[in-house]
C-alpha cells in the first residue's frame, strides 16, 4: 500500500497500523486490540528473547538435519566397510518397496492412533474426576504423573515383570487358566497389544496434567450459568468444557502425535522389535538399519521420510484445531 506523497507522518502511521491489523486478522472477524498494540511496539524485544532458543534449535536440530541427514540420504554409505557412493534418489525408491519399513509404518500409525485416542480419553476422564474437591487431589495427581517421569526402559522392565510374572501369578490365585497361560510376547498380535498398553500407560499422566490445567482455566461463571440453564453431565462436557478446552486439546494432540511417531524406547526394551520384527516402529527400523546393518545412508533417507510424515500430520492437525479454538 503506497503512502500518498506529502501526507503527514500521522496518516502514514495510521495506514501502517491498519495494514498490520488487516494482515493479522484477515481470516477472522476480530479486531485489533491492546495486546496487538503492545506486540507491535515491542516486537524487536520479543524476537530477541526468542533468539537464544532459536539458536539452540538450529544448532541441535535443524543443523544436523539439513547438513547431516539430508545429504547422507543420497549416499549408499556402509559404516563398517567405509564405502560411500552417491546414488541420488536410490534410497528413497528402495524404501517404498521395503517390506519391513512398510510394516513398521503401518504398526507405528496403528500404535499412534490407538495410544493417542486411548490416552487422551483416559487422561481427560481422570482430570475431570480430579477436578472437584477430592481428598488428596494433589497426591493422586502426582501418582498418575509418575509413569511419565520414569524412563521408557524402566517402564518396559516393570511391565515385562507384570506380564510374565505378576499376571500369571494372579491368574493362579484366582484359578483363571487363561491368565496363567497367556503368552504376551509369543505372537505378533499379543506383542502389539502389549506395546500399545505400555505406551498408553506412560503417556496418560502427562496429558492428564495438561487437561487439569486446562480445566482450571475455564471460568467458573460459565459453568454455573450452564448448570443454571439445565446443561449437566455429558452435555456439559461435550458442549461447554471440551470446546473451551480446545487449546489444551491442540497441545495434547500435538505432543502425542510427535511422541507416538518417534516411539522407540518402549518397543526396544519391551519386545526388542517383537517376535521377528513384528513390533518394530519406524524409529526402531531406522536404528536397526543404521547400527545393526550399518546402512547409514539408507537409514538417513528413512529419517527424512519420517520427518516429513510427522511434519505434515502435525501441520494439518494444528490447522484444524486452531480453527476450533474459542477465545474467551
Amino acid at each position: 500500500m503506497d503512502p500518498l506523497p506529502f501526507s503527514s507522518a500521522r496518516t502514514q502511521k495510521k495506514r501502517r497500523w491498519e495494514a498490520f491489523c488487516k494482515a493479522r486478522y484477515s481470516d477472522r472477524e476480530e479486531r485489533c486490540g491492546m495486546s496487538d498494540f503492545l506486540y507491535k511496539k515491542n516486537k524487536k524485544f520479543y524476537l530477541s528473547l526468542l533468539f537464544p532458543a532459536l539458536l539452540l534449535y538450529c544448532a541441535a536440530l535443524a543443523g544436523p538435519l539439513l547438513i547431516g541427514s539430508l545429504p547422507y540420504s543420497f549416499l549408499n554409505w556402509n559404516l563398517i566397510k567405509g564405502k560411500k557412493e552417491f546414488i541420488g534418489l536410490g534410497n528413497y525408491i528402495k524404501l517404498f518397496q521395503d517390506e519391513r519399513f512398510i510394516h513398521a509404518v503401518g504398526f507405528t500409525i496403528m500404535l499412534a492412533v490407538v495410544s493417542i485416542i486411548l490416552s487422551n480419553i483416559v487422561a481427560f476422564a481422570v482430570a475431570f474426576m480430579l477436578d472437584r474437591n477430592v481428598r488428596g487431589k494433589g497426591v493422586i495427581r502426582s501418582f498418575f504423573f509418575i509413569p511419565n517421569i520414569i524412563s521408557g526402559v524402566m517402564v518396559a522392565f516393570v511391565w515385562i515383570f507384570i506380564f510374565t510374572n505378576a499376571i500369571p501369578n494372579v491368574g493362579e490365585r484366582l484359578n483363571l487358566d487363561y491368565l496363567v497361560n497367556i503368552s504376551w510376547f509369543g505372537n505378533a498380535d499379543m506383542s502389539m497389544a502389549a506395546v500399545v498398553i505400555v505406551t498408553t500407560w506412560q503417556s496418560t499422566g502427562f496429558l492428564m496434567m495438561l487437561y487439569v490445567a486446562g480445566l482450571q482455566t475455564i471460568p467458573r461463571d460459565v459453568i454455573e450459568a450452564a448448570m443454571l440453564d439445565g446443561c449437566v453431565g455429558l452435555k456439559k462436557i461435550f458442549r461447554i468444557q471440551l470446546p473451551l478446552l480446545m487449546p489444551t486439546v491442540t497441545i495434547n494432540l500435538f505432543v502425542s502425535i510427535a511422541g507416538a511417531f518417534k516411539s522407540f524406547d518402549i518397543p526396544l526394551s519391551l519386545t526388542g522389535g517383537g517376535p521377528a520384527n513384528s513390533t518394530q516402529t519406524i524409529a526402531l527400523n531406522i536404528y536397526s538399519d543404521a547400527f545393526g546393518a550399518y546402512k547409514t545412508g539408507y537409514a538417513s533417507a528413512k529419517s527424512m521420510v519420517l520427518f516429513l510424515m510427522v511434519a505434515v500430520i502435525a501441520f494439518i492437525q494444528l490447522r484444524i484445531t486452531r480453527k476450533r479454538e474459542v477465545q474467551m
Binding site: 524485544f45 528473547l49 510374565t164 504376551w184 505372537n187 519386545t271 545393526g292 546393518a293
Partner: protein
C-alpha cells in the same frame, strides 16, 4: 532501560550455563588411573571398550604396577561409542599404545592399513590354540593377541542330569532326543528359554548351521552366491523343533536374563548359550555344578564340536612411543605361567571368558575342564556368523525368532535370512 539490562544479563547467564554443560557432557572418556602415574615412570596405556569386566582389568593392571617401578600400566575405558573413538584417533594419527579390537575383519582392516605391529615373533604365538589362528591373523601373520575366547555350546546342570539318570553327554541328535525325554519324565524342564532376545537365537543358529555347511560356504555367502538353505537344513530345524518342544511353556516370554537365571537356579537342566550365561550364576548360585558339551544336531559324533572363537583382540600401535615397554606389558598379559597375574584377574571366575591358551585356573568347575578337553583335542569350530557380512546377527536373530513364534516355516525363515544377507552385501 533497567528491564533491558536485566534481560541481557539473564541471557548471558543462560548461555554460560549451557557452555558449562557442553564441556561436561562432551567428555566421553573416563580415566581409571592405575597407580600415581608420574615420578619418572613410562606410561603404557591400554584402551578398552566399556564392559562390566573393566574392574577386573584394572585389578590386573594394579598387580603389574605393584611388582615393578619402571612402567605405569594404565587402563582407559571408553564409555562412548568405541568405533567412533577409534575412527577419531585414526584420523588424528594418535592411536594409544595398545587397544581392543574385534577379531577377524577389524584386525584385518587395521593390519591392512599398516597401523598395528606384527606380533608373530612374540612368546605367546606358539602357545595359542591352533583352531583360532584365523581370527587374529592377516596374510598368515599374527597381528593381535587374542585375549580371551568365548565358547558357545550346551551348558548342563550335572546334578539334574544325574537325577534323571543320564550318564553320558549326548553326541548325536538321537542321543539328544533321549536326554530330553529322560528329563521330561522327571518333570525337569530340559532347556532354559531365552528366545525373547533375538541375539541368543543368532548364536544358536550359528552353532547349528556350522555343522551342516561345507568349507566354501562362507566365501559363497560373502560373494552373494550362497544360500542359508541346503539339503542338510533339515538337521538344523529339527534341533530347533526339539528346543521348541522342550523349553517349557510360554518360552517366547523369557528374555536372556530370565533364561540365565532359570538355569542358574536349577529350574532348567540345560541352556544353549555362551560362557557369559554363567555370570548370573555367580550371584544366584555359585556352587552350581555345570558341565559343557558341543551342540549335537547331526547323526555324526565327530560333528558335536564346541563353538569357540576369539572374543577380544589386543593390538599394539605400530607408532607407539614406548614399543619396548608396551611389549613388556603385553607379555605380562599373555603370561600363562603367572597364577596371580592378568589371566587370573580377567578369566578366573565363573562365566568369565578363558584365555586362548592353556591356563591353570583356580576356579574348579566341570565346564572349564570340559572346555580344556575340547580345545586340546582340537575339537572346536569357529563362530561361523562372525565371518559373514557385518550386521548378519540382526537378520538371523529375528528370522529364527519368527520360526520359534510359529509365524514362518523352515523355507520362509531361510528365505528371510537369504534376502537379509543379500541386502547387507549391497
Amino acid at each position: 532501560m533497567k528491564k533491558k539490562v536485566i534481560s541481557v544479563l539473564l541471557a548471558g547467564l543462560m548461555v554460560l550455563g549451557l557452555a558449562g554443560c557442553q564441556g561436561g557432557t562432551s567428555e566421553q572418556e573416563s580415566k581409571t588411573e592405575g597407580s600415581s602415574g608420574d615420578g619418572g615412570k613410562t606410561a603404557v596405556k591400554l584402551v578398552v571398550w566399556s564392559s562390566g569386566a573393566a574392574e577386573n582389568f584394572q585389578k590386573g593392571a594394579d598387580a603389574f604396577n605393584s611388582r615393578q617401578d619402571k612402567i605405569d600400566f594404565q587402563i582407559e575405558m571408553q564409555t562412548g561409542d568405541y568405533n567412533q573413538y577409534l575412527r577419531a584417533k585414526v584420523a588424528s594419527d594418535d592411536l594409544p599404545d595398545m587397544f581392543f579390537l574385534n577379531p577377524y575383519s577389524q584386525v584385518q582392516q587395521f593390519a591392512e592399513n599398516d597401523r598395528i605391529l606384527d606380533l608373530s615373533d612374540q612368546e605367546f604365538s606358539s602357545k595359542i590354540y591352533d583352531s583360532v589362528k584365523d581370527a587374529y591373523s592377516y596374510e598368515g601373520k599374527a597381528y593381535a593377541y587374542p585375549m580371551c575366547l568365548e565358547m558357545l555350546g550346551i551348558y548342563y546342570n550335572v546334578d539334574l542330569f544325574e537325577e534323571a539318570g543320564i550318564t553320558e553327554v549326548p553326541k548325536t541328535f538321537a542321543e539328544m532326543e533321549e536326554v530330553c525325554r529322560k528329563l521330561q519324565e522327571k518333570n525337569i524342564t530340559p532347556f532354559a528359554a531365552t528366545y525373547k532376545d533375538g541375539w541368543t537365537l543368532n548364536h544358536l543358529f550359528s552353532c547349528l548351521q556350522g555343522n551342516v555347511v561345507g568349507d566354501s560356504w562362507v566365501q559363497e555367502m560373502n560373494e552373494g552366491t550362497g544360500s542359508f538353505a541346503n539339503d542338510r537344513s533339515e538337521e538344523v530345524f529339527r534341533f530347533l523343533d526339539l528346543m521348541k518342544d522342550n523349553s517349557g511353556s510360554n518360552y517366547m516370554d523369557a528374555d536372556s536374563t530370565a533364561g540365565f537365571n532359570a538355569f542358574a537356579s536349577g529350574e532348567a537342566a540345560m541352556i544353549a548359550s555362551g560362557e557369559f550365561s554363567l555370570l548370573n550364576a555367580e550371584s544366584v548360585n555359585p556352587d552350581l555344578n555345570v558341565g559343557l558339551f558341543g551342540v549335537p544336531n547331526t547323526d555324526d559324533e565327530a560333528d558335536a564340536k564346541l563353538d569357540v572363537d576369539v572374543g577380544i583382540c589386543i593390538v599394539v600401535n605400530k607408532k607407539s612411543e614406548h614399543l619396548e615397554e608396551t611389549l613388556e606389558v603385553l607379555n605380562y598379559i599373555a603370561d600363562n605361567t603367572d597364577a596371580e597375574g592378568w589371566m587370573h584377574y580377567s578369566s578366573d571366575a565363573m562365566g568369565a571368558a578363558p584365555p586362548a591358551m592353556e591356563f591353570e585356573m583356580q576356579l574348579d568347575k566341570q565346564y572349564y575342564k570340559d572346555y580344556t578337553a575340547y580345545m586340546e583335542s582340537g575339537n572346536s569350530k569357529p563362530w561361523i556368523y562372525l565371518q559373514l557380512p557385518s550386521g548378519i546377527a540382526d537378520t538371523v536373530g529375528p528370522a529364527v525368532q519368527g520360526y520359534f513364534a510359529g509365524s514362518t516355516d523352515m523355507a520362509e525363515t531361510l528365505e528371510v535370512m537369504d534376502v537379509g544377507c543379500q541386502e547387507l552385501l549391497e
